[in-house]
Symmetry: C2
Subunit: 340 residues, 2 copies
Amino acid sequence: MKNDLLIRTLNGEQTERPPVWLMRQAGRILPEYRAIRAAVSGFKELVTSPKLAAEVTTQPIDILKVDAAIIFSDILVIPECMGLPYELVEKVGPRFPRVIENARDINNMRSGDSAASELSYVYDAVRLAKKRLAGRVPLIGFAGAPWTLLAYMVEGGGSKTFSRAKAFLYAQPRLAHLLLDKITETIISYLQQKVIAGVDVLQVFDSWAGILNRDLYETFGLPYLEKICRSVNKVPLIAFAKGAWFSHQAISQLHCEAIGLDWSAPPSWARGVFGEQRVLQGNLDPCALLADDRRIVLETEHMLREFGPHHIANLGHGVYPDTSVESVHTFVNTVQNFRY
Amino acid sequence: MKNDLLIRTLNGEQTERPPVWLMRQAGRILPEYRAIRAAVSGFKELVTSPKLAAEVTTQPIDILKVDAAIIFSDILVIPECMGLPYELVEKVGPRFPRVIENARDINNMRSGDSAASELSYVYDAVRLAKKRLAGRVPLIGFAGAPWTLLAYMVEGGGSKTFSRAKAFLYAQPRLAHLLLDKITETIISYLQQKVIAGVDVLQVFDSWAGILNRDLYETFGLPYLEKICRSVNKVPLIAFAKGAWFSHQAISQLHCEAIGLDWSAPPSWARGVFGEQRVLQGNLDPCALLADDRRIVLETEHMLREFGPHHIANLGHGVYPDTSVESVHTFVNTVQNFRY
C-alpha cells in the first residue's frame, strides 16, 4: 500500500500526521460525480452498477487526494437483500413500501449468508475499486448498524422522531430482538464478503443511536454492534454510534479499532472518556466547511490539536451536498500539512 | 394558590412528591382541543384569539389534572412581532416567507418593548387563563431562546441540519451577535409583560441547542439565555437547552430556578453534574407513552426514583400528537401517586 497512513493509525501506531477522509466524499459535492449521476436513471442504478460504483468510489482519491476511499453504496442494501426493498424519493429520502409490523413479517425475511449473497453487485464493486485504486490508498467498506436498520424497516423511511420504531422497542421488545438478530447475522455475512472481496477497513454507522437513551441503546443497539465487532475481525473496524454520548462507557468497551464521533462531542471530553491511546475519528462540524477558508483552517487545526495523535481526521457527519469543492480541499490540505 | 407544588419545588422546598406537567399538554392529544382547532381557520387563529388560547390552556387542568398550566402560544410570535411573519404549513411546519440575510434585514427589525408591545393578544390570553384557573394551579409562560429563534429566522423554517443558520454563525459572527441582541431584548420585554399579566413561572426553550457544539453554543447560545435569566427574575424560570449535554458545566452556572432535560440525559448523570439540590425537570422519552400501561408505570417510576427530590416530572420533549389520552393519564397518575 503506497499510502498506509490510515492502516498504521488503526494499528495503534503514532503517525506523523492524521489520515483524512470524509464521510460522503463520493457524492454530490463533486461535479464529476454529478455528471455520472445525471447519466443514470437514479441513485439505485449507481449503487447496483459495479463499474459506476467503483468509478465514483475512486473519484475523491484523484480529485480530493484523501487518504482513504470508501466504497460507494447505501446502508439500505441490507433490508433490501433481506426482502424489504427501498425506494429513494428525490428531496424526501428513503421510503419502504412495506414495513415490519409483526412476527410473520420478521419470519418471512431472509437473513445471514442467504441474504448477503444477494449483494454480489457490492462485492463486484469492491473488486473493481481495488483494481482502480491499485494500492494507492486503503478501501473502506461500510454497513449500517442493526438498530439503525431496524429503525428504517419499522418506520418505513426517515423521520424526525422515529417514534414508530422506538415504540416498537418499548412495546415489542421480544420481536425487536428477533429482528435485530436477523439483521446482525446478515451484516456479519455482508462485511465478511466485503473483506474477501478486498476492503481493508470497515466502518459501521449507527446513525440513529442518539435518538435512543442509555437504557434503550444498551439493550437494543450496542450488544448487536459488539457482536459485529467480535465476528468480523480480519481487518480494522471503526464503530460510529452517532449522538450516543450517554453510552460512552459502554462504547469504550467495544472490540473495535476506532471510535467515530459526531461534532457534538468536544475532543477534550472524548480524550477524557476514551483515553489518549484510543483511535478516535471525527469530528469537525460539517457546517464549518460553509465558512471562509481562514475559518476552516482555524477550526480544523483547533480540532487536530485537541485530539492529538491516534486520530483520523474527518467531519462529524457526512459532508453536506452544498459544500464547495474548494472548502473540502482547504480542509484536506490543512490536515495533510499538519504535523504533530 | 390551591396547588402550589410546582412553586414550592422551584423555591427549593423538598415536596412530598414531584409536580407533573407535560410539554405540549395543551394540544392535539386532547379531543377537546381538536374540536376547538377544527372550528377555527388555523393554528394562528387559535394563538391570536385570547379567549380560545385561554380555553385550550386550561383544558389539561380539567381533563389531565396536571399540576401546572402552560399558556397556549408559539415561540415564533417573537420573530413575527419583530417584523418577520411566519406561516404554519400543515404537515410541514413553520415557514418564513422572508428570512434574515444581511445587516439591513437586522437593522430593519423592531426589538425590545416596541416589538413586544405588539403581542397584546398573548398578555390578554394570560389574564383570561389566570381568571379561568382561579388559583387552582400555577400558570407557566414560555419563550423560545435567542439561538433557536435566530435559527428559524435565518433558515426560514424547520430543517434536519439547520446548515444555513449554522453557516451564518461561522461566516457572519458579528451579524449573528447583532441579531441575537435584538432578539434577546425582545424576549426580555415579552417575558416581563407576561409576568405583569400574571404568569407564575417562566420556561425558555432552546430547542436547537443540541445541533451546535460546545464552542458555538457557549458563544452564540448560553450568554443570551443567561442575560434573560438575569433580567427576568420576578418569578422562577426553567431553562431548557435541549440536547446541549456538552455544555452541562456552563448550564449549571445559569441563574435559573430549574434546568430542563431531554430524554437523552440519564437522570443519574444529571444528578452527578448538576447536584442533588438543583431542581431538574424532565425527562421521560415521549415514545415511552406509546407502550402499554404496565411499561409506562415502570418507566415513570424508574425515572422518579433516579431523579429523587427537587424534580419536576415531565417528558423529555413535547408529548407526541398520536399519544393516547389514557397513556397520559397513566403517566400523570403514576407521578401523583408516588411518594419520596
